[in-house]
Subunit: 451 residues, 2 copies
């Protein structure tokens, strides 16, 4: 084996490469990238501007160029392909699988996309036109048209012959799908079973009938759930008539899972756009502002609200001391609760507990936590501040905040989910802001009543 060494992108190499780009030193570029995996070259290109990237790619072979371009993330690629002529894009796309081709065409301006489609090889063209009908986040938009089909009345030998013919257009496959004369999906044969079978057997004797397929309209999340649950490396896609129209492979699903985790994390941390640390200062600022504004709005409301209790605050200044404690606890409890709900919404297969049952349980957890915390805080306050009456008020308020924040944190994501929003929104600054206000209200009502 030519020892495979994972390519490590060092600052030195990047600087040397930049130098080569500045000097248009095509020899250095060609030689230094010769043994590098296209996936690593993609990562390298993120370091340079589109014009420099194009110069680099034009030095490489068309196959490698196509692989790299299909590897880039959607935003970088959109930007990058602006400097490409339609004919250049056609050349590249002709080398790709139909699903990757459709992804790229989806990103092009409509006029350019039409020009590219017109130039594609006829088979790929009709495949791509079929795929472009689907939204990107449903099974139809994820699937590739390239697959290997067999008929159940073929012998294994015949099947191998047909695989040889069909395999020209399919880069990677592990499974042969069995269909009837109307292209209706009947089952599948693993490639390994074809290899180890007696050549005279019929496909009918060796194929699996009990298989999992997905309909074109299932969402990417649903497809991911199904493939994960049943440990599938590829899944056939059927239309409403049950005809086989494509297949989805696990590598596309791995991307779906990763993107969703990233999106959830961003929502939880109050970042609105898909932004990365090395995007521009302006983009980073813009991605953060909306949630900060919501926080500011909540803060201003808090200020107005506390203004109503100016007399009490003037009388007992120490009331103010415990505002941070009450608020922080409300925020923490709210996020914990909503996060657990989001997690349970994401896991499939469980019987959904009824809302009442769920809330009852949340209530018990809250009562327990609230009890521990308020006893603790009461003790600490008594020792530290000595004001017994205020200590009682703070502990009662704290207890109530834990209970209310738990319930709000549980209900909010359920409501969001019911109305089709991503419930992870509820684990971010949104729920914190609501719980801040809630905590303050509970605290001052307790003060009003008891102090």
């Amino acid at each position: 084996m030519k020892q495979f060494v994972e390519f490590e992108l060092t600052t030195e190499f990047r600087d040397r490469f930049q130098e080569a780009l500045d000097q248009r030193d095509s020899q250095f570029i060609r030689e230094s990238l010769e043994d590098v995996n296209p996936a690593d070259i993609s990562a390298l290109l993120y370091e340079f501007n589109p014009e420099e990237s194009k110069y680099t790619l034009d030095i490489l072979s068309l196959e490698i160029r196509a692989k790299i371009i299909s590897d880039l993330d959607s935003e970088t690629r959109t930007n990058f392909l602006k400097s490409y002529e339609p004919t250049e894009i056609t050349e590249i796309i002709n080398l790709l699988d139909s699903d990757d081709a459709a992804d790229i065409l989806n990103e092009l301006p409509i006029k350019k996309s039409e020009e590219v489609i017109a130039g594609l090889d006829p088979t790929l063209r009709s495949q791509v036109i079929d795929l472009l009908r689907y939204d990107e986040n449903v099974a139809g938009g994820l699937m590739a048209k390239e697959l290997i089909k067999a008929r159940s009345n073929w012998s294994v030998v015949q099947c191998v012959e047909e695989i040889r013919k069909q395999a020209e257009n399919v880069t990677k496959f592990y499974t042969v799908f069995v269909v009837d004369e109307d292209d209706k999906l009947l089952g599948k044969v693993a490639l390994q079973d074809i290899v180890i079978s007696d050549a005279n057997k019929l496909v009918a004797d060796i194929y699996e009938q009990d298989i999992v397929s997905v309909e074109t309209y299932l969402t990417d999340t649903e497809v991911a759930g199904i493939m994960k649950k049943y440990d599938l490396e590829s899944v056939p896609v059927v239309n409403v008539q049950g005809q086989l129209v494509g297949r989805i492979t696990i590598d596309d699903i791995v991307d779906v899972i990763t993107e969703q985790a990233d999106e959830d994390r961003q929502l939880m941390s109050g970042i609105t756009e898909d932004v990365e640390e090395d995007d521009t200062v302006w983009k980073n600022t813009r991605a953060r502002l909306p949630w900060l504004l919501i926080g500011i709005f909540g803060g201003m409301l808090s200020a107005r609200f506390m203004g109503l209790f100016e007399a009490e605050l003037a009388r007992v200044t120490a009331i103010a001391f415990f505002v941070p404690l009450i608020q922080a606890t409300g925020g923490n409890v709210g996020i914990q609760s909503s996060s657990l709900v989001v997690q349970s919404l994401a896991s499939t297969g469980f019987v959904d507990e009824g809302l009442l049952q769920r809330l009852t349980k949340v209530l018990f957890v809250a009562l327990l936590n609230g009890f521990f915390l308020s006893v603790l805080v009461f003790g600490a306050n008594w020792l530290l501040f000595g004001n017994q009456q205020l200590s009682i008020v703070v502990s009662i308020a704290l207890f109530s905040v834990v209970v209310f924040a738990s319930l709000v944190g549980t209900i909010t994501p359920l409501i969001l989910d019911r109305f089709g929003f991503n419930p992870a929104v509820a684990s971010g600054p949104f729920i914190t802001t609501i719980n801040d206000l809630l905590g303050l209200t509970v605290y001052f009502i307790t003060i009003q009543v008891m102090l």
Copy 2:
């Protein structure tokens, strides 16, 4: 195709099933589960207690039983297998692949595990003993020993013969690995290339030499990164001598990716144990308490700290009104910053920006956001409260808090990462608590200086 219908676990079915369990109605159980995929039966079992689950499983065939048990999550299984005799476990494990077998053995008490190992089929026994040497979260602990090997001087026909022999022990494979006489990995052949090749060709003519492999000691995160980057459905594992010792398939990596996303989400939301909404009240309470205590500790510190400024608070009560605003903004900015750092730490392949460059950029974003927010708040305060001097103080404090919280939010996860902790910890209550205190300090120092 026998139409595959995704099994939907309804409350009605669960209740009916519970009834059948209570009445020991084995006929209903057998019939109702007959066409159900083992993965769905696993999900169903989460609804019942270990004793009921065992009763259900004992009705099913040994093959299905084995599949279901290897599907269960580690915690449920540990609990569940307590009621099994070593001989029963041996029977089940004898039907599993070596990686799944090792996972289960790792969960058993040492004495029981030894008894089970002693009863295993000799091949599986030696494979499992080899796997048990590795930590669960490194490549050696993830890999399975079952794989198909070929020698480069074999012809394709010979290779197919050998595959037939070796395939008995390997449930699923898409790739044949090529090794030399010392078992050193030379490359691989995709199964599809074997099927479509001329039978008289040599393996040497068709195998790929330039392949990606991983060493036994790479962490699961590293393996996941490599498989994602290079779009691999399986990767060979080699020891330090370069000998082929196992393979890791993508379905195990999908689990690793999902678990890591869940873990990050839990850390970000301040939940310490791996807990689910439908775990017991007590477990849920315990998982939440530690972070709540940190929040409470921070809140008590805040109270003590504000106590130092009792005179100022008594003089200008309105100072207290803006405590929530300052704290919430500090918290939000801190989480946004740390979350972006965590994300960039997770993405591989980029040249690491220097710390100074990173902080400079964060600083600019903070200056911009801080400027917008403080101008806005100044305007609002002036209109709402009319106290110009306090408005200026609040805006200056807000601006400083945005800047400081950004820097702390950026540096904390970098430090955690450097010392080998999961940097996602820094996006949760930890950073919020620190930023709460920071915000308060900045605010009161500004007051001290200016008011």
